[in-house]
């Protein structure tokens, strides 16, 4: 069965096709497709207006490339939330229209479920698993006994991990988005020159706090001679990254132990961070837990993960009514009854 996936909850417009027999057949992102050629106009920069302009040409492009029609689809999966309502509505309304016109089942997917299940696009899932979702807007630990059952174990009390990376980069004068720049610069960093706090280390709950890191980095940077030399920037990046990765790892494995997970996974944009992947891989190996780092293209926002999640819903006989509504905020809810423990 082929499932069309639509994702408009974030900055990029994305459409994808997942085939239950062959995997991801296509995964298009507006930032990577030359849309000027497709609709011959200026591409607007932002959110719902951009999604509105991008989406239909991208769906057309995908169908044309794959040489299929709407009748070849088994269903349409769309991000229903969380996100900006205006942006979400563009994707949801388009998905509904396609389903209504071609008489296809519609499935609304929670954006975070998409990120979690993106791991299945890289390797078969090993369950039960504990998942760390880390991005610009999210830092959460979720336990997944099976697909469709999600238990939120905790999250950040202030800033998300991705935001901590971006704002640390800003304080060092590195470009936006800062995560990849810190990751790269930290590789040349010498450990031990600076030290940043690991807040809440003694707290027994699954909680994170990254807001204090900004002040800590700023205090260090303000005392350094200007302009900052590359080695100093690398050294600050290294220790800031260690501080973030340390607490992420600690909480992930604390949660995995608590839930007796067989596997741990990473999800979201920060899951592309090299140091985080390295540390989680080493720690998982030490504890005998399964871990495969997700392909980087499936860490950031994409419609392939939504199409795949939708295929899981459809395989379980789930579909949504055409009256489905988008939502700005809602916790990730289970859609399957919890397995008896």
């Amino acid at each position: 069965m082929r499932v069309l996936g639509i994702e408009t909850s974030c900055d990029d417009t994305s459409v994808a096709l997942y085939d239950t027999d062959g995997g991801v057949a296509a995964n298009l992102l507006s930032s990577q497709v030359d849309l000027h050629g497709v609709f011959g106009g200026v591409v607007p920069e932002l959110a719902s207006r951009a999604h509105l302009v991008n989406l239909l040409p991208m769906v057309d492009l995908l169908l044309k490339r794959e040489q299929i029609g709407l009748g070849d689809l088994g269903g349409v999966a769309v991000t229903a939330g969380p996100g900006l309502l205006g942006a979400l509505l563009v994707g949801l309304s388009t998905a509904k229209a396609i389903c209504f016109a071609a008489d296809l089942p519609l499935v609304g997917v929670h954006h975070l479920e998409g990120h979690i299940l993106a791991n299945a696009l890289t390797a078969d899932l090993v369950l039960p698993a504990t998942v760390l979702i880390v991005s610009g807007g999210h830092t959460e630990v979720v336990h997944m006994p099976e697909i469709g059952v999600y238990e939120r174990l905790g999250g950040t009390l202030d800033d998300a991990a991705g935001e901590a990376f971006d704002k640390t980069a800003k304080l060092l004068g590195l470009p936006y988005p800062g995560g990849p720049h810190i990751d790269a610069a930290a590789k040349g960093g010498v450990p031990g020159r600076f030290r940043f706090p690991r807040p809440l280390a003694a707290d027994q709950r699954i909680v994170f706090s990254f807001s204090g890191l900004k002040t800590a980095v700023r205090t260090v940077v303000e005392e350094l001679p200007r302009p900052l030399d590359d080695q100093t920037i690398a050294d600050v990046c290294f220790e800031a990254q260690e501080a973030i990765v340390d607490v992420l790892c600690q909480r992930l494995f604390q949660a995995a132990r608590l839930k007796r997970a067989r596997a741990v996974y990473l999800a979201g944009g920060v899951a592309a961070n090299g140091r985080l992947r390295e540390r989680v891989a080493a720690e998982a190996a030490k504890r005998g837990l399964h871990f495969v780092a997700p392909e980087r293209v499936y860490c950031t926002d994409n419609a392939a993960m939504i199409a795949y999640a939708g295929s899981c819903h459809l395989a379980a006989g789930r579909r949504d009514a055409l009256s489905l509504d988008s939502f700005a905020r809602a916790p990730l809810a289970s859609w399957r009854p919890s397995p008896a423990s």
């Binding site: 207006r49 900006l84 309502l85 205006g86 999250g155 800033d159 998300a160 002040t215």
Partner: protein, 175 residues
Amino acid sequence: MDPGHAVPAAASFPAGVETTGPGETFGLGERAAALLRGGEVLLLHGGLGAGKTCFVQGLCRGLGVTAEVVSPTFTLVNTYEGRLRVHHLDFYRIESPADLPDIGVPDLLDEVEDGGAVLVAEWPGPLLAALGPLPRLEFLATAGGGPSSRRWHLRGQPEPAAAWRALFSGGDPAC
């Protein structure tokens, strides 16, 4: 700093009140909440790590919000329910006022004008033009005496009420 992340000069604000750390910044927000009646627009200025989100966490606690109050930098708008509804916005990632309708700002401002909600904005630069003549309270957090200390300044349009001025000049709020 680039124009989108400009912070107004402290000289354009009254002297302000000092907090010694995040705990006191939270407490200041909590006490400020007692002065809110609904319909206020609060603009929060200050650099990275100034404590803007911490102040809003205190403000929300003071309004009886039980949900976790987190940074809206990436989500752009977080809405909380307490004694009053709070729309917590952050324009850090927003460059142009043309993006405000996409974020739903006109609807949020309508709701605030009707008195049912409070709008709190961090990095409010792009929002200023959209406010028109709407009354607003403007807060600026600057560095204090120690690394964790901050000085909180308040100005307003029109001039803030006496209780607000008292709270942000180190005196006791009249409440």
